[in-house]
């Protein structure tokens, strides 16, 4: 009596599992196919010398661009990862912490660019002592971001310490809106522009194989120094060890004599200071901030943190750099490559080879052949149907490329590229 129903149930369950599995499988196959088509197509088009492909200098420029953008995303992503590691929720207000550092930096920079202008001396303090000025702006930005992060923790998150983790997450969205609108009310809608950086910084620096614009090089260098300093802090100091302990298991850490509250405040402060560094770097490169400047970088940094593995600090850095590169170089390469028609000969080979692989995989149950086989079949079909997509404005959808990376990582490696670091409550 029980045996027949059990087999019926298991087959039913297995049937439903197969349906979901095959849907996910199709999604995987199509997404990898699109990327491969784009990449191979771009290389083919570049070899043919199609107008619109990048030459070497332009490609290197875009890569440097992506690295500097990625460095900024990485710095902000560190804040997301650290807070997730310690408290287990995503702090959506972190983008606004970044924006407030940029705003205060603007006011300092603006003041410095007006100071020191007399009748005899037309250049301002900012022009004459640029390095000192930018240092002051950095310190101001870091202090502001740190303060805002600590205040937000004290006011919005500490009272919710025992609540289910969805509650502080929603609160953080509210804090994000509050900060955006507070800045809007206080300072108006007009974008604020930083004073110009001196010419010697904007000149291209020759590094042997590449020429890099001075500001971008500075961004990469300062971001790298900050990240190294952070890792030293977390791995070598006692406070850093306390942070890692609290992230591992809050209760045991408390039993070991660590002041959990103080450690959490330190985590927020350190995350905030990284965001402050990122804010001033962003301002040096893009020079304009308004009350919504923090929103999109915040979201992208959160994406970067998830791509690298949430809770994992090295992952956040890698994720940020990867995202920056995808966003910068992706549209002009992968999206551009989609206009390449796969030649018929190659398509036929792919189709036959793919069908064979799929058939072999299905009959012999060697699932390793199924995915590549399906992709090859798709390639063959694309070639036979002469598919080609010419996207009119590539950079209008560059955010799609960036978030597509998140999508792919979540499909193929849900725990992130370097694996997530979950707190004790989340681990099985």
């Amino acid at each position: 009596m029980t045996a027949p129903t059990q087999t019926r149930e298991t087959t039913k369950r297995a049937g439903r599992l197969n349906w979901v599995d095959s849907f996910l499988f199709t999604v995987k196959a199509v997404s990898v196919f699109v990327i491969l088509w784009g990449l191979v197509g771009y290389i083919a088009l570049a070899a043919q010398g199609e107008p619109g492909t990048l030459d070497g200098a332009q490609l290197r420029g875009l890569i440097i661009n992506g690295l500097s953008l990625g460095a900024m995303y990485g710095l902000i992503a560190l804040g997301y990862s650290m807070v997730y590691g310690v408290l287990g929720f995503i702090n959506f207000a972190h983008g606004e912490v970044f924006m407030s550092g940029a705003f205060v930096g603007y006011f300092i920079a603006d003041g410095l660019s007006r100071a020191g202008v007399t009748d005899t001396d037309a250049t301002s303090f900012w022009d004459d002592n640029f390095l000192l000025s930018i240092l002051i702006v950095f310190i101001a930005g870091i202090i502001t971001s740190t303060l805002i992060a600590v205040i937000v923790e004290r006011v919005a998150y500490r009272p919710l310490r025992g609540a289910p983790r969805l509650i502080p997450l929603i609160t953080s969205i509210g804090v994000s809106f509050f900060l955006q609108n507070a800045v809007l009310l206080l300072f108006g809608t007009q974008p604020k522009t930083y004073p110009d950086v001196p010419d010697w910084l904007k000149d291209k620096v020759n590094l042997g194989i590449i020429e890099v614009e001075g500001t971008r090089l500075l961004v990469i260098v300062i971001a790298a120094i900050s990240m190294v300093a952070l890792f030293q802090f977390v791995n070598r100091t006692k406070t850093g060890r306390a942070m890692r302990a609290v992230a591992e298991d809050k209760e045991i850490a408390a039993l070991m004599g660590i002041n959990v509250d103080r450690t959490i405040v330190t985590t927020f402060a350190v995350g905030g200071s990284m965001a402050g560094v990122a804010a001033i770097l962003f301002s040096m490169v893009f020079r304009t901030v308004n009350h919504v400047s923090g929103f999109l970088p915040g979201i992208k940094a959160f994406t970067a943190a998830v791509v690298g593995g949430i809770g994992n600090m090295v992952g956040a850095t890698i994720g940020g750099v990867a995202l920056g590169l995808f966003e910068s170089a992706g549209p002009q390469t992968v999206l551009f490559g989609l206009r390449w028609e796969i030649p018929l000969g190659l398509g036929v080979i792919l189709l036959i080879g793919g069908l064979l692989a799929v058939g072999y995989g299905l009959t012999r149950r060697h699932s390793r052949f199924l995915l590549p086989g399906t992709i090859a079949v798709l390639g063959g079909v694309a070639s036979l149907l002469s598919w080609s997509h010419t996207i009119p404005a590539l950079f209008q959808i560059k955010d799609v490329v960036a978030f597509y990376a998140l999508f792919l990582v979540l499909i193929f490696r849900p725990s992130g590229l370097l694996g997530e670091r979950l707190a004790a409550e989340d681990r099985a």
């Binding site: 107008p51 619109g52 492909t53 990048l54 200098a57 332009q58 420029g61 875009l62 661009n65 953008l69 809608t189 007009q190 974008p191 522009t193 110009d196 904007k202 614009e213 962003f282 893009f286 020079r287 304009t288 308004n290 919504v292 400047s293 929103f295 999109l296 966003e327 910068s328 549209p331 002009q332 009119p392 404005a393 590539l394 950079f395 209008q396 560059k398 955010d399």
Partner: protein, 462 residues
């Protein structure tokens, strides 16, 4: 904890009640469109006697019957309701606020219509987006007493608002929408977003695109250009109008691409454009994307000597103060109004002096005159179709629309207004100005001007 919670809820409820009670009570007007049944019912009684007697007494006059769109009926002493729907918050306030102030001045200057004063009610916000336009339009159409709307500021908001307002029988006259899709292609075909109750005193962007194309091709003598828009109906329509006109003149549009609103990193799109070696770039977008483009273009090899041309979305003092914008051209409506006067007798100089006195600054955008003229045109038309009967004022909606459609050579500050079949009532005069370093002088530094007659052939291909 629960008592505290209940206390808080009670306090919030009390505050909400107080706020509602002390709120603006501007909407105590009479019924409007369905009033067709109300009016005859009350006044039919005296005429039921003596319908067939051949007595020399004429039958008692009937109140005006409502047309197909209904009519607004106002009791004695009630205000005529119009609304202002402009971008008064957000990054485009520089455009919306002077429009709204132009409407306010016009209402003051026109005065009463047949003994009823005109009220603008609470100014509404279009947020320069389809969402904002839709939300505001829903607020407007929920009030039957509204006769007409002066707005919106942004074409994107009008695309959402105009269908709702037109379906409710009201009219909408925009002072600054320029997208061709909202009216027509000037060759007899309605635009994709055309609605019967929609009019505008701003120019149609087909003229602006053609004007800029003529300027670049004939005056600057450049043949390879690139166009960059930001995806919204106004910028995309204008870039396309420019592209079509420039190609028709014989030039080449080497790149036609877009950025997103909110983008900060323009190096990608500028590298893409640089690959095609344009001689000029036309980017009719807004701040801050315009800021990023001019600041980052210096770092792209291949674009050092390119001529930059923007539109009136960037003709804002904050943008002009950036050092990189010196040498840029800007297209927009021709603001050389000279001695043109509205039917109220107000000229451009009168208006500007009054604006300066009232608000302590010059208008931050160029469409204040279009807004003033739009409001005067609306009020004049209402005056023409409003019928007094038995102490009440009847304003037939269809008659108002027909009256607006028949406007010919109506004197306004911007010139003589004539409305075509699709709602384009503007004077269609375009100019291109050059920014040579002085932010305040830029708007008057005209380098090229064109009128309807100069450009219509290029647009229609004649």
């Amino acid at each position: 904890m629960t008592t505290k919670f209940r206390y808080l809820v009670g306090l919030l409820a009390a505050l909400a009640l107080v706020a509602a009670a002390c709120g603006d009570s501007a909407d105590d007007t009479t019924t409007a469109a369905p009033g067709t049944t109300a009016a005859p019912a009350t006044t039919a009684a005296p005429t039921t006697e003596a319908p067939t007697t051949a007595a020399p007494t004429t039958a008692a006059p009937q109140p005006p019957e409502a047309g197909p769109l209904g009519q607004v009926v106002l009791e004695a002493g009630e205000d005529i309701q119009i609304r202002s729907l402009e971008a008064i918050t957000g990054p485009v306030t520089f455009l919306g606020v002077p429009n709204q102030r132009g409407t306010e001045f016009a209402i003051e200057d026109y005065g009463d219509i047949k003994g009823h004063s005109v009220s603008m009610g609470t100014p509404l916000d279009d947020l320069c987006s389809a969402d904002g336009g839709q939300a505001a339009a829903q607020t407007i159409v929920s009030d039957d007493a509204v006769v007409g709307v002066i707005g919106t500021s942004c074409s994107g908001a009008a695309v959402a608002a105009a269908p709702l307002i037109s379906a409710a029988g009201m009219v909408m006259i925009s002072p600054s929408n320029t997208s061709p899709a909202l009216t027509s292609d000037l060759q007899g075909n309605a635009g994709t977003d055309y609605n019967d109750g929609y009019f505008r005193t701003a120019h149609n962007d087909l003229f602006q695109g053609a004007g800029v194309a003529r300027f670049v091709f004939d005056e600057l003598q450049l043949t390879k250009v690139a166009a960059i828009h930001d995806g919204d109906p106004y910028t995309q329509g204008l870039a396309k109008a420019f592209s079509d006109a420039f190609t028709a003149l014989g030039g080449e549009v080497v790149a036609f691409t877009a950025v997103n609103k909110g983008d900060t990193d323009m190096t990608g799109v500028l590298s893409e454009v640089a690959g095609f070696s344009p001689e000029a770039i036309y980017f009719p977008i807004f701040q801050p994307e315009g800021d990023f483009i001019v600041q980052q273009i210096g770092g792209i090899s291949g674009l050092e000597d390119v001529t930059l041309i923007g539109a009136d979305g960037l003709l804002v003092s904050d943008f002009l103060e950036l050092p990189e914008t010196t040498g840029m051209y800007f297209s927009g409506p021709d603001l050389r109004f000279g001695e043109n006067a509205s039917t109220t007798g107000v000229t451009a100089d009168d208006f500007l002096a009054r604006y300066e006195e009232a608000f302590g600054e010059a208008p931050s955008a160029s469409f204040w005159a279009h807004s003033y003229d739009a409001t005067i045109m609306l009020l004049t038309s209402i005056d023409a179709v409003a019928v007094e009967f038995d102490g009440k004022l009847y304003i037939d909606r269809q008659a108002l629309r027909d009256e607006l459609k028949s406007v010919t050579d109506f004197p306004g500050i911007i010139g003589l207004l004539t409305c075509d079949d699709f709602g384009d009532c503007g004077a269609q005069r375009i100019s291109v100005v050059l920014h040579e370093g002085d932010a305040e002088a830029a708007v008057s530094n005209v380098k090229y001007g064109a009128t309807r007659a100069d450009l219509i052939d290029l647009i229609t291909g004649g």
